[in-house]
């Protein structure tokens, strides 16, 4: 079952499960209490009440006056900070070029789930659905490769398989996903998919070697993976059914030529992100049950032993981490008393000690390293009635129509017969726009051109803001995410890196 189908089914179930009537007396009892309960009237309310009834008790207003004074000072400070920090959004649509990696019949049913600098240049992985003989739909995993990031061709197809993510290593790349991927038949057609958790390794993106032997227990799910010392290290989170709140631990597994080996288990840890730098693995997650403050762990022996980093400031959540030429950078947010998070960037040279600073110019949710620099992105759904919101048409690039003759960096809107999604009418719906930021050291950031992505047809029910992944090609940076079909976006390095802050 796809994410959209799953969400639809979940909504239907929640609607059916929700009680249609409140228990008798629930309002009566509450109202009985409120009839004996005094309302909090605040300064103005108390002032008018006292003025009417007990003017000699004006001293009772002193605490309100103090609160109002402090609130006014804080509001003035916040307003000043907002005015200083605010910047107009740059026009969208300039720079990023959408390209379709899949051609032909599968184009409409395929979606890219990851992109990585590897093999012949850059490799995109993804999945497609095709009608099977059993009346249900059979999943296929695909690899598309490109030497320059602009001209794509299909390199491999694995039947009954599913690619979820791709990890670059020193000598090979790894695809993480499921083997034996099948969709459960259901009265409505196809149920949701399931298979055996596996990984594959490949040097060129065309030939994939299966790495099998992970726990078959589906209560474990892989949250992230990274490569260190020439081997893939995967993190599996255990979901326990004991008690009201699940208890979790994270298992660390290492891929070898003969299969997976369980190296250790980190108790009370939920690890959600990992990266590596010069053989050192850095994992990010939470120490249960606190899921509001991130915790980092570091391993120098390929994941066998782990050392917890010094604590981040309370309320700091790092959503993503990457290793570049100048150290480690994490992006996230810090919760404030008002509940509105402040975007933050965390830098570290060793993964053990982190320096957290605010990034007030915009939210960052995902970061990758490309050619030693960092590129981060955050996206949101916007009202496409804004004139900048309509995305340019995607261009079919693979073997059918090479794009090498088109000027690099131009904002192509060619009226080719192969121009595909989205339909013009979808421009009336909400549309995803991603901000991109570039930094060499994680401290100084430059805002790149806004990336307009596909349009969400249903305004009232947008999916969560998608997360982009990035890779480097000879044509520039390539971006991909699984929400927008068989597309990647390409931008020349010079366009991305240069521009007003």
């Amino acid at each position: 079952m796809t994410t959209t189908e799953f969400d639809r089914e979940l909504r239907a179930w929640l609607e059916q499960t929700e009680p249609r009537q409140a228990p008798d007396g629930i309002v009566t009892r509450a109202v009985a209490v409120t009839r004996r309960t005094r309302q909090r009237r605040g300064f103005v309310g108390e002032l008018s009440a006292l003025a009417r009834t007990r003017p000699w008790q004006a001293w009772r207003l002193a605490p309100y006056a103090g609160v109002i004074l402090v609130t006014a000072l804080l509001a003035a400070g916040l307003l000043a900070a907002a005015l200083i920090g605010s910047q107009p959004r740059r026009p969208s649509g300039s720079g990023w070029v959408p390209l379709t990696v899949a051609a032909g019949a599968i184009e409409g049913s395929a979606h890219v789930t990851g992109v990585v600098t590897a093999g012949p240049g850059v490799v995109a992985i993804g999945n497609s659905l095709a009608d099977g003989d059993d009346g249900c739909r059979v999943g296929r995993a695909h690899t598309w490769t490109s030497t320059d990031g602009r001209t794509w061709r299909e390199s491999a197809v694995l039947v009954d398989a599913n690619f979820e993510r791709v990890v670059a290593g020193d000598e090979r790349m790894y695809a993480l996903g499921y083997s034996g991927w099948q969709y459960e038949p259901s009265p409505e057609g196809c149920g949701w998919g399931h298979g055996r958790r596996v990984a594959w390794s490949s040097v060129d993106g065309a030939t994939w070697q299966l790495i099998d032997g992970l726990p078959a227990d589906e209560a474990f799910f892989m949250t992230t993976a990274a490569e260190a010392h020439g081997a893939l290290v995967a993190f599996l989170t255990e979901q326990s059914a004991v008690g009201e709140e699940p208890t979790r631990a994270t298992q660390v597994w290492r891929a070898t030529d003969s299969g997976w080996v369980h190296t250790t288990t980190i108790e009370d840890a939920l690890i959600v992100q990992a990266t590596s730098a010069e053989g050192v693995l850095v994992a990010l997650g939470f120490v249960e049950p606190d899921q509001e403050t991130s915790q980092a762990w570091v391993s120098s022996d390929g994941g066998a032993t782990w050392r917890a980093a010094s604590a981040l400031p309370r309320g700091t959540q790092l959503f993503s981490v990457a290793a570049g030429a100048n150290g480690l950078v994490g992006v996230g947010a810090r919760a404030g008393r008002s509940g509105i998070g402040t975007p933050v960037v965390a830098t570290s040279s060793d993964g053990l000690t982190w320096t957290v600073s605010e990034h007030t110019e915009g939210e960052l949710v995902q970061i990758d390293a490309v050619d030693g620099a960092f590129i981060a992105a955050s996206g949101e759904w916007v009202d496409s009635e804004q004139p900048t919101a309509c995305p340019p048409p995607a261009l079919a690039s693979p073997s059918a129509s090479p794009l090498g003759s088109q000027p690099a960096g131009s904002d192509e809107r060619a009226e080719t017969p192969s121009a595909v999604t989205p339909e013009p009418t979808e421009c009336t719906a909400s549309q995803h726009v991603a901000d991109t930021w570039v930094s060499v050291d994680g401290i100084e950031w430059r805002r790149g051109p806004v990336m307009p992505a596909a349009t969400q047809p249903l305004v009232a029910d947008p999916v969560p803001a998608p997360v982009f992944r990035f890779a480097q090609s000879t044509s520039g940076v390539v971006a991909a995410n699984p929400y927008f079909g068989a597309q990647v976006w390409v931008i020349p390095d010079e366009t991305l890196a240069v521009g007003p802050r």
Binding site: W13, E18, A30, R40, R41, Q239, F319, A333
Partner: protein, 182 residues
């Protein structure tokens, strides 16, 4: 009409508040039940939320914001109800509303999803209910939960992943049981 009742209740009109409470109680109880998964605790949460709503009504400036404002109060009450229930160490009995009996779903058995949903943490259930059942946007969900937008995104992602994993575990358990019976 709702705004008018809010204004009257703000001024201290108990009868107006009773009408107001009656108009929102069913929806509040439905939301609370989905988060708390216990009718008694959900009823407690709704009552607490209504009382807190009454006490703080004069501080609500915009009557149009009443619904979003009470939602935030209700979520806090749900968390308190869950914490109170844990302290009492009550034996939990899974309750399924009668209306669910005829629901056919791709998830298979409804009680399978019921159990899987019950495995989620209250935070995870709350974000799924607010976003998927009440149809709140992510920023509205963040407001209701009083957490940053980024937290909602990551929490929603983890909740969905955890629910899928829990469903898979349920299916595996059922298959094992069926094999044992056979």
């Amino acid at each position: 009409v709702l705004e008018s009742l809010v204004e009257q209740a703000k001024a201290g009109d108990h009868d107006a508040f009773e009408k107001l409470a009656s108009s929102v109680a069913t929806r509040m109880f439905g939301t609370a039940y989905l988060i708390v998964r216990d009718r008694e605790a959900a009823a407690d949460a709704v009552q607490d939320a209504l009382i807190e709503t009454w006490r703080n009504l004069p501080t609500l400036r915009d009557a149009h914001a009443f619904e979003a404002w009470t939602r935030r109060i209700l979520v806090r009450s749900c968390y308190r109800a869950i914490a109170g229930r844990r302290r009492r160490i009550e034996v939990r009995v899974t309750e399924i509303d009668a209306t669910t009996a005829s629901h056919e779903s791709r998830f298979g058995e409804v009680d399978q999803l019921e159990r899987a949903f019950g495995r989620l943490s209250p935070d995870q259930r709350a974000v799924l209910v607010l976003h998927h059942r009440l149809g709140l946007r992510l920023d509205e969900t963040a407001d209701a939960l009083n957490v940053p937008l980024g937290t909602v995104k990551s929490r929603l992602n983890r909740a969905t992943t955890a629910l899928r994993a829990a469903i898979a575990a349920e299916e595996r358990d059922i298959a094992t049981l069926e094999r044992q019976i056979a």
